[in-house]
């Protein structure tokens, strides 16, 4: 480890000590993505026969499909997901989550000036097909605080407006030296396409109604910071995140579950760590089969009954832009699902309140709750920048570095 970038053991949000991991650990990362990468080498499609009834068709790009691209960094567009990617939390093991949170705490504790040398001059592209103030700014500042150079490409940029495909935009960014792309896209699954087309680590900053992994991780970090003292002790003793760290914690996610990538990522992440996730909302925004997304997820349509069980309540905005054809009576919705003072006081006085933003005050949540003592909404934003630094570090560590910019970290 280079002297500039020395890190010391640190406390999560000032309260939770987490074991320091060395760089050596990072090399041992085994993720779902890494496994895919393992057999994807070569011509990009396995020659083995796919079993019919297993119905397990892996994404294949036949050799004919590939375009010869100059290899700047020794990484080819071979049709697999780079292990530094964060596309779906379903790819994360508990150990992965532990490493990301540990990394986050290390970076959080590092003096700002030293942190800015960690990834100095590394190149990160932000590719935003949907407008987003919060997530874009958060990622951008996270990258800059690590010393990386950033370039923002938005849907209004000329090439995209002229009809350039996501694949070609990705290849162009890679040719320009991008070592990691942060993608926000209105179509579910778009990060897989970009990852396969470029071979680069892709950070999913929200794809359609699919996933928003950095949001789930920042929600997790926020929740951990608010754990009751007994649970915090357990974390202390183990010095790391494990699959029971959220045992006994019920997280209720309320509102437009159908269109929420935040709901999906949280519902996949939190139960891995022992939490119970309760989805709450009307039929039209919460179909019955939503509970089948994974283990540890239930549906409770009655908001007050759901509140009674909750340690954490996550309120979601109704995504009017995605409703297309669905009808919602807003007055009735507010009546049944708005979180306001009386409801909170009566049914979940000790719960912490989360909201991924943007908050529509007076619709899903009353102003006095947003600004009230239970609200951790502002903290979420803080944890967001820390988590995104960690995801960027993970992506750039995994990405082969160019000689002229050899890492300052090792």
């Amino acid at each position: 480890m280079a002297p500039f970038c020395h890190r010391s053991g640190t406390m999560l949000n000032g309260s939770m000590p987490i074991k320091r991991k060395t760089a050596a650990n990072k090399a041992g990362r085994k993720t779902h993505a890494a496994k895919i990468a393992g057999n994807g080498a070569g011509n990009g499609h396995s020659s083995s026969i796919r079993p019919l009834l297993a119905l397990e068709v892996s994404p294949s790009i036949s050799p004919r499909n590939k375009i010869a691209i100059p290899q700047f960094h020794g990484s080819a567009a071979t049709g697999f997901l780079h292990p530094g990617s964060a596309i779906s939390v379903s790819h994360f093991s508990v150990e992965d989550v532990d490493r990301i949170l540990t990394e986050a705490s290390e970076l959080e504790a590092m003096p700002v000036a030293r942190r800015a040398l960690c990834y100095a001059k590394r190149r990160v592209a932000l590719l935003f097909y949907e407008s987003s103030t919060r997530t874009r700014t958060s990622f951008e500042l996270a990258a800059k605080s690590l010393g990386a150079d950033t370039a923002l490409v938005s849907a209004l940029s000329s090439s995209i407006e002229k009809g350039e495909s996501l694949k070609d935009t990705g290849i162009t960014l890679r040719s320009l030296g991008a070592e990691c792309i942060i993608l926000r896209h209105p179509n579910s699954g778009a990060p897989y396409l970009l990852a396969r087309s470029t071979g680069l680590p892709i950070l999913n900053a929200g794809d359609g109604s699919h996933e928003h992994p950095s949001q789930a991780l920042l929600d997790l970090r926020t929740i951990l910071a608010h754990l009751p003292p007994s649970a915090r002790t357990a974390v202390k003793q183990n010095h790391s995140i494990h699959d029971r760290v959220l045992q006994g914690v019920t997280v209720t996610i309320v509102g437009d579950i159908l269109h929420s990538r935040v709901a999906r990522s949280n519902a996949l992440l939190l139960p891995k760590l022992g939490a119970r996730v309760v989805f709450c909302g009307p039929q039209v925004l919460l179909p019955e089969y939503a509970a089948a997304i994974g283990p540890g997820v239930e549906i409770e349509r009655n908001f007050e009954r759901a509140l009674k069980q909750s340690n954490v309540v996550m309120m979601l905005r109704i995504q009017k832009e995605r409703l297309a054809g669905l009808e919602i009576d807003l007055e009735e919705y507010i009546e049944q699902y708005q979180l306001h003072k009386q409801r909170l006081a009566a049914f979940a006085p000790a719960a912490i309140i989360l909201h991924p933003g943007p908050v529509i005050r007076g619709l899903e949540i009353a102003s006095e709750i947003t600004d009230g003592p239970n609200s951790a909404i502002a903290e979420q934003v803080y944890h967001g920048s820390i988590i995104r630094m960690a995801l960027l570090a993970r992506a750039l560590d995994a990405y082969p570095k160019r000689n002229e910019h050899s890492s300052k970290r090792r």
């Binding site: 499609h45 499909n65 694949k167």
Partner: protein, 443 residues
């Protein structure tokens, strides 16, 4: 035209019930004789016939696909009639019925004739299916009489279902007058906007809008009701509804009931719907995106049930070529459909014959005699003496690997790349011409 003797093979002809060793004699593009092995040798010698050794092979009627998209006129970058029919020949098909969603839409006798012209260089016989309504806009029915005279064998607005009750009723009535079936792509597009896969838990997990089972079955039920209404007002009506690419248990049940009540309803199922489920989408594989979408395992098994019990009349591929750049897009933006001509026989043998123990002759009936019957294709899908000499020779127990890169189609969009399938096709003959010969086409 010279004569051909196909000798030493095992002849399976579902149209006649033949399932024995027979030599087959072809003259002037027609089946001239069928005899016990050796009996035709003298005739062959006398007429200096070309000898094809079919030892160890099944000799069957050339396959009939009543649902393909050949993309011509207008979209030759995806497929041409020449390339699509070469793919057909490689897959053992000798008759293909081309859907009208071309550019322009085939709603005129001129386009219908253009598609059949010699200049198209079709390798096998192409039967155009004309648009049911002008421009497939669902507003006014086309002129069925002139379309039929030009060679159309059915009418359909495939891809754009006829939603309006009165138009559908009129289409059924008018088509009946000239003896054409109406083929309906059953999808209530009023409730499937933005949908790109089957509705349900998996669509929720993937964050994709789902197409419900009811969107299909609702239209099938409505069409059956219209047909019943037509029969009530005119018991002699010959109105014939054919349901394209049926994909759900619920729609299948509606067809089953209608058949029991004596209505003239037929249906087809595509190989991908009995071979795959929505799980094949995996991480947003656009080669598993089609319309109707891949469904649940329960639906898949119900379709196999319908095939086994005879409710399903035909296997049809819905061969739908798309260029690579079109499929290499975001899942929701990528076009629907896959190529299917070269994998249909293999998938049918694998799933229906090998896994579900259907007799070979019944599997072949679904791929030849029955589809020919559905669209009244005379002297096709049969090896009876006098039939067109459309023949496929294959080794039923010889497994082979399908490679998309070696497809004769212009496109490569298939989820079956690399699959090992039974039934290696050795030769295909269209009206006595050898249009595919594995000895000539393997590298």
């Amino acid at each position: 035209m010279t004569a051909i003797l196909i000798q030493g093979g095992h002849l399976v002809d579902p149209s006649t019930g033949m399932d024995e060793r027979r030599d087959l004699y072809i003259r002037d593009g027609r089946v001239a004789a069928l005899e016990l092995p050796g009996k035709l040798n003298a005739l062959a010698k006398k007429e200096r016939a070309k000898i094809v050794d079919a030892t160890g092979m099944v000799v069957a009627p050339g396959l009939v696909d009543i649902h393909v998209h050949l993309r011509e006129p207008g979209q030759a970058y995806k497929e041409t009639i020449a390339s699509g029919t070469q793919a057909a020949a490689a897959g053992g098909f000798t008759s293909v019925c081309a859907m009208p969603n071309t550019s322009p839409v085939n709603d005129s006798p001129e386009t219908t004739r253009w598609m059949q012209a010699a200049d198209r260089h079709a390798a096998v016989h192409v039967f155009p299916i004309a648009a049911a309504t002008l421009g497939s806009r669902g507003e006014a029915v086309a002129d069925y009489k002139s379309l039929q005279a030009a060679g159309a064998v059915a009418v359909s607005d495939d891809g754009k279902p006829i939603l309006d009750d009165s138009i559908m009723l009129e289409a059924l009535a008018q088509a009946a007058r000239v003896g054409l079936p109406v083929i309906q792509h059953a999808e209530d597009t009023r409730v499937t906007q933005g949908a790109s896969m089957n509705a349900g838990a998996l669509a929720f997990s993937l964050g994709l809008r789902g197409m419900s089972v009811d969107a299909e079955s609702g239209i099938v039920e409505r069409d059956i009701e219209l047909l019943a209404r037509l029969r009530k007002s005119d018991p002699a009506s010959r109105a014939h509804l054919h349901v394209a690419h049926l994909s759900t248990a619920k729609a299948l049940e509606a067809v089953r009931r209608a058949k029991h009540s004596g209505l003239r309803v037929t249906c087809e199922v595509a190989p991908h719907h009995f071979a795959l489920t929505q799980a094949a989408i995996g991480d947003y594989n656009t080669d598993a995106k089609m319309n109707p979408p891949l469904r649940s395992e329960e639906d898949r098994l119900a379709l196999i049930g319908g095939i086994v019990d005879g409710t399903v009349d035909a296997i049809a591929t819905d061969h739908a070529p798309h260029a690579l750049h079109e499929k290499e897009q975001e899942f929701e933006r990528a076009p629907n459909g896959i190529i299917g001509l070269e994998t249909a026989l293999g998938l049918s043998l694998l799933v229906l014959h090998r896994q579900h123990r259907m007799p070979l002759t019944r599997v072949l009936a679904l791929l030849s005699s029955q589809p020919a019957q559905v669209l009244h294709l005379k002297h096709r899908g049969s090896l009876a003496v006098g039939s067109f000499a459309d023949v496929v020779l294959f080794r039923p127990n010889d497994d082979w690997q399908f490679r998309a890169s070696e497809s004769k189609s212009k496109s490569r969009n298939t989820p079956f790349d690399g699959w090992k399938l039974p039934g290696r096709i050795q030769m295909t003959m269209s009206e006595g011409r050898i249009v595919h010969d594995v000895r000539l086409s393997t590298k």
